[in-house]
Structures are given as structure tokens and as C-alpha cells.
Symmetry: C2
């Protein structure tokens, strides 16, 4: 039997209802903060994702060739598409951009851990703002979404770090500029592989054994003041430190201090982040990260520069902060916490004809009800009353409109409220007139 | 510069807003009639679309191989996916199924006529109902959608035919059962290619020159009674005739007779239709068909039977009526008729700080407003008042909350209604308390 494509999900109506509930919260939170929705094709040129660093996301690209041998890919993430769209119409967007989207993203991964090959990911991107106000707006919007789901700082925490801060410190320790990205991607594995393996990765990146140990030590610091001591001691730049201080301060003023944790081990697995990086995780620490993001001030310029003539290079640039929130881990959390709503089909009216004659008698009522914005369905073909009332209940009907030969003869209707069980008789014409 | 994939569309926020308006109408109309939303992956096994007939849709399949050499395709239409989903969980859906979806569909076509390689298509499918009540429900739902867009029978017409009726007649004329599908697909080209070319196609399908001429003649009949005369004269079955009569009758009772036209040349380009076929088109006849559908009673059984052991063949079957409504032609029509709404970003509140100090003063208000369901944004960084008020207008703000050093010192705020231009002073704490 032909099956759903391996690693991908079907959404039957009951699955879809819960998906829609979540997406509506994403959309509602985005709207509250003035983020505008955009969309673009799921298929992009493969070259959009070709980056040098050994990121998991580009290694697992779902690539293929079309009939003209164009190299294409199913998008693994939305940020490069957003960057492409902004670059293509750069002059139309001179100021800030606050955009949101809920794209389905794909990766081609051997499915050893039961991970899927697709997920939906709510994206928020704030472009053209170099201050921490961009981070604040995105993080605040994410927290508003959590709270709309019924979650609070009791269930969800925000871990923040800053790549500039980390690289300032690493450079102060003697790590080379050229080694930084590899060090970041190694640190991103923390908790996923053993510490010894991290050390191996760091040494593979060119760090001495001592330096690797020192890096691992620093990563475990949870107290931002202690980081400051390190910075001062090795005379490193404190730009990253000032940024993270400012972001903490803004989030506290906004009212979300209960969510905050400093965590140096947060670096995120994407090569393009340049400053703030953050992750939301469940307070019990049993699940993978729920959502995360960071600042990527150079991505748009780097993508644009590839095709710009030497003179024009650097002319297209925009600072940016982005955020992705997948639909898989959050469902696990909401399920664990019993916060998933029970959603069923409902109908305002279910029309119950006792015979074929009453079908035609009732059809104009169905038409008028729908025309006036009421959800309505007619039972067909007529069956025994018990069967029809069972179906009314199964379809979530609030009211029934019932007609047999008696009602037809007298041009009346029985109207039944299924909740109060109240039943009334009304004239057909009166009922028609009352629908509005 | 990396471009959007050839033949595909980006949706910038202003494009998306109008798209969302249309999709909300599709969803609203579906809901009014009790259709439940479902979804599934855009990627399917290629074999799901392998059918014998020479349909345009399977010739233009967007196929590719994944890294495991699986033959996959981007879906060209939703119906086979729906059939697959129903077959995979057949026992869970013993009765009727009324489902809806708005999938993006793809085709790989040489883009000679400016046609795109993707479109979104609203789908309605009604399964498990053999009577014309299924057709009625789908067609009525479509018309409710048109009316929600502001269209009426003045702008949109429904052309209905019935493949059973046509094949009854063709068989009566002496066309062979085995030639029927080819004849249908030839007739579907009517209006797209010249009549002489249709004749050529019919002859290629094996019809004599005389018979081909006769078929072409019959197709042009617009009066259903005349068709009846033909049927009686060649002693053909009148099952299809009774069906179309019943459907016309139901649609008239429902109240949509103004939309109806009988049109024998409507056959639709899909091989799997078995009975009713219909198309909505603009009354001026200047555009391609807006939407269309038909009955496909055998598709589910045919798809299921492929993998069933001989004994079980025929055990999975469900009558079905389906409908597809693309997002391209309707936009052309609505644009022509000036019925597209003007949709702009709006915000309930725009917060205007005169300096950095007031930014932090105003942030808790932003937080509370959003928390209570108001859309709110803060201007950053502070600029000259004129610039900030311009931006408030550009962002569609209804109200402004303004604070300079005076307001900060006195713990007050200026609240301005941008529509009435009314401006009031309130205490910070009073305003905070008033947000709910």
C-alpha cells in the first residue's frame, strides 16, 4: 500500500485541529508585537544553503535535481529564504523589517532517533536594528506565545548567551579567530555527546589540550559576574558583555526576569550567528530545546556579496535577529503538562429529515443558515431517528432542526437545543425570518 | 543573485495579507458546511500519480529522487494524497468523510504561457455518499465562498455536465468503452485548441471521421432536453441523465439556480472522474476556469486494489466527489471587478519615547498591552517627534502613547487617538490599571 513519505506526517482532522490551535497562538503572538506574515516556496536553489562550516543542517540537506538539472533543495530552515527575499527587494525595505512565518522545513536524516524529516517552525525575524531592542522584541513575543499556551516561567526557561562575549573570551585565552566557528560548533554538542568527545573536537579544531580543558571549564560557568572576572583577567574586549547585560536589563524591565538564565554553553548549531544566542527549554530539563535563535548581523551581506561586483560589495546589509520555534518538542511538553486543549468538530445546527420529502423541505434552511454565518449540515439519507440523533451528537451539533411528515404538512419545524434539551415548534417561515 | 525558484512565488507581507484574506474565506465556507481541515506532506511517492491516461497533470509531474533513490514527487494535486490517507486508516472512517485543505500544488511545465509552477488550491472532498447530495454540498459550499468574496451569479457561473451521461450517449453512438477516456481528454481541449485539432485527436483515439463529427456536434448542445432526445433516439442508458436532473433540482431548491448552466463540453482533464463534472467560470468568459471538480467513485478502490491480495480486492472503496479552487484565476477576477480589499498592517498602540529614558519607562506598558491582547509596538531608537509620528502612521497605529522627560518626571503619559486626534493626559499607574 502506498504510504506517507518516510519520516513525514499526515494531519488527519483531529491532528490538524491541535496544530491549528498552536499555529493560531504563533500568529496571535506575532500580531501582538507587530510582526507581519510572509511566505515563500518550500523549494529553493541548493546554493542558498552552501556554507563552509560543518553544520548539521547543511549536511542533512534534502536535495534533488529538477528536469532541467537545476540543483534544488527542500528548505531546511527559513532564514536563508528570508535573506534572499530581502536582498531581492532591498530598496523597497529601507528601514526595519519585522516578519514572521510558519514554514514546513525538511532535513534528510537517517532516522535513528525517531526524529522526523520535516517539522513546522514558527519564525520571527527582526531586521535593521543593531541594539538589543531587537532581541527583546523577539524574546518577549516568544514568551507571550508561551503564556497564551498556558505556560509560565514555572515550565519554561530562557537560556541566553552571546557569541561575541564567548569569542572575546576565547580570543583572550589565545584561541585563533579562524578556530572560533569550529569551537562554537563543538560546544553546541555539549550534553549531546560526552565531555571527552568535546575535548577531542576542540583539539581537532586546533586547540591545545590545556586550552581545550580551559574552554570546557569556562563553558560551565553559570554566573555572569564570574565571566566578567575572566574577561578582565585576560584583558579581552567587553562588547559582548555589555550586550548581554543590556539584554538582561531590558527583559527585566519588560517583566520577564523570572524566565532568565545565563548559560555560556548555549551557542546554537548555526554558523551564521554573530552575537546574542538563546534557547527556550522546559524547566524540568527532560526535553530537547523548545525554541531558539540569535543575532546574525552578517548573513544578508554575505549572501548578497557573492553576486555583487567588487565595488558594490557591502552595499546590501542589514543587522538581524531571528528565532525558530518547532512544532514537535512543544507538543511533547504541552502533552506532559496536560495543557493540550480537547478540540472537537462543532456545528451550530444539524438538520434531521425523517424522509426524502423533508430533505427538500429543509434544504432552504441549510442554505440560509450558512448564508448568515451559522455552521449547518443536513443528515442524509434519512434513517431511523435514533441513528440521526447519534450522528448529530457525533458531529458536535448544538441544535437540531427536525422535520417529519407532520411538520411538513403543517409547515412547521421542531427546533431542539441539544444542551438544554429544550424543544420548540416554530413555523417554517418564522424560523427562516429569524435567521440573521 | 540567488533568485526565487523559477516559476514560484514569494509572498511579501502585502501579498500575504490578500492571500490570507482569500484563504480565510475558503476556511470559513468549509466550516459553514461542516468540512474538516486536514493536511499532509507536499512530497509523495511518485507512484501515487502513475495513471495510464495521457493527462496533462501526470505528464507535468515535478519528480525527483532522494538520497536513497526513492522516486518522489511534489504533489500536483491533493486528491491522490487524500485517497492515500483514507486508505491508510480506512477502518477508522467507516462513514462519510467531509474534508477540506488548501495545499500548495506543483507542476513542472515549460513556462510558455506565463503559467506558474505552483499554486495553492482549496480542496473540498465528500466521501461515502453516492447520491447527488454530495455534489450539492460541495457546489453550495463553493458558492457560499464566492458570495463571501462579494461575488454573485452576475459574475460567476457554474457549468455542469456528467461523464456518465456523455459516455451513455457516446456508447449509444457506437464509441467503444475503451475509447471513452481518450474521447473525454480530447473534449477537455475544447476552446484551448481548434475544433479541427479536436477532430484529429478523436480520430487518433480510434473514432471514424463521421463519429468524430457527431461527437463534436453533440458537445455543443446547451439544452439538456435536446440531449434527452438523443439518448432516447439511440436507446442509451439514462442513469447519467437522471443524476444531472437530480443535481439541478437540488441546486434549485437550495436557491442557487441563477448560477446554473448545462454544458456538455465540461469533462475536466482528470482521468478519474466517473460522473458529475463541473466548472465555475467568470460570467464574461474572459478567464480560464476558476474552479472545478467532479465525482470519482473508483479512485480509492483502484489505488487500494494495487496492493491488496486478489481475495481482498474491492474491499476498500468509497464513493467520492471532489473540488479544487486555485488561487490564481480568482485573484485576476477579483482584481478586474475591483473586489480585492485593501489590507494594511494595523496596530492598536504605538509607543513614542522622546529619549532613551522614556524607552525603559514605556516598556512595561508595551508588555501589559500585549499581554491583554492589544497589538503594540515601541518606536526605537528615539528620533525627532515628526519622524516618530510618521512611523506610527506607517505602521497603522490607531493610538499613540507619548512620553518625554516631562511625562517621565510627573509619572504621566500622553495618550493620543490618531483618528479623532483627541489627546489626553493620564497617570502612568492609572493607564496601566486601565489595560484589561
Amino acid at each position: 500500500m502506498i504510504q506517507v513519505t518516510k519520516g513525514m506526517r499526515d494531519f488527519y482532522p483531529e491532528d490538524y485541529r491541535i496544530q491549528e490551535w498552536l499555529f493560531n497562538i504563533f500568529k496571535q503572538a506575532s500580531k501582538l508585537s507587530g510582526f507581519e506574515y510572509y511566505d515563500c516556496p518550500v523549494v529553493e536553489a541548493e546554493e542558498l544553503y552552501v556554507r563552509k562550516a560543518g553544520e548539521e543542517i547543511t549536511e542533512q540537506l534534502y536535495t534533488f535535481e529538477d528536469k532541467s538539472n537545476r540543483k534544488l533543495a527542500l528548505r531546511p530552515e527559513m532564514t536563508p529564504s528570508l535573506a534572499r527575499m530581502v536582498i531581492q527587494k532591498f530598496k523597497e525595505f529601507p528601514g526595519k523589517i519585522k516578519w514572521t512565518s510558519i514554514p514546513q522545513c525538511f532535513r534528510y536524516e537517517r532516522m535513528t532517533r525517531g526524529r522526523k524529516r520535516e517539522h513546522y517552525q514558527w519564525n520571527l525575524d527582526y531586521l535593521g536594528e543593531k541594539s538589543m531592542m531587537a532581541e527583546l522584541d523577539i524574546i518577549a513575543t516568544a514568551i507571550h506565545a508561551f503564556e497564551l499556551m498556558g505556560l509560565s516561567s514555572k515550565n519554561v526557561r530562557l537560556r541566553i548567551s552571546n557569541r561575541k562575549l564567548l569569542s572575546d573570551l576565547l580570543l583572550g585565552f589565545g584561541v585563533l579567530e579562524s578556530q572560533i566557528i569550529d569551537v562554537f560548533l563543538s560546544i553546541d554538542k555539549l550534553g549531546k555527546i560526552k565531555d571527552e568527545q568535546i575535548i577531542e573536537l576542540l583539539e581537532k579544531a586546533g586547540l591545545s589540550s590545556d586550552l581545550s580543558q580551559k574552554v570546557l571549564e569556562v563553558i560551565y560557568i553559570k554566573d555572569i559576574k564570574k565571566v566578567k572576572t575572566f574577561i578582565d583577567s585576560c584583558d579581552a574586549s567587553n562588547e559582548g558583555y555589555l550586550e548581554i547585560q543590556e539584554l538582561f536589563s531590558l527583559l527585566e524591565i519588560y517583566g520577564f526576569s523570572d524566565y532568565l538564565e545565563f548559560d555560556f554553553s548555549i551557542v546554537r548549531g548555526l554558523a551564521y550567528y554573530t552575537g546574542t544566542v538563546f534557547e527556550f527549554f522546559d524547566a524540568r530539563k527532560t526535553l530537547r530545546a523548545i525554541a531558539g535563535g540569535g543575532r546574525y548581523d552578517n548573513l544578508i551581506q554575505n549572501l548578497a556579496d557573492v553576486d555583487l561586483p567588487p565595488k558594490a560589495k557591502g552595499s546590501i546589509k542589514k543587522e538581524a535577529v531571528g528565532f525558530g520555534f518547532g512544532d514537535v518538542v512543544i507538543f511533547e511538553l504541552l502533552k506532559d503538562l496536560k495543557l493540550l486543549p480537547e478540540l472537537k468538530l462543532t456545528l451550530d445546527y444539524y438538520l434531521i429529515p425523517f424522509s426524502e420529502d423533508e430533505v427538500k423541505y429543509l434544504l432552504p434552511i441549510v442554505a440560509k443558515l450558512r448564508n448568515q454565518g451559522f455552521t449547518a449540515e443536513i443528515h442524509y439519507p434519512p434513517q431511523k431517528p435514533k441513528k440521526m440523533f447519534e450522528m448529530a451528537s457525533k458531529r458536535g451539533a448544538k441544535n437540531g432542526i427536525i422535520a417529519g411528515s407532520q411538520e411538513l404538512d403543517k409547515s412547521i419545524l421542531k427546533v431542539k437545543n441539544f444542551r438544554s434539551r429544550e424543544e420548540t415548534q416554530v413555523r417554517f417561515t418564522d424560523f427562516m425570518d429569524s435567521i440573521s
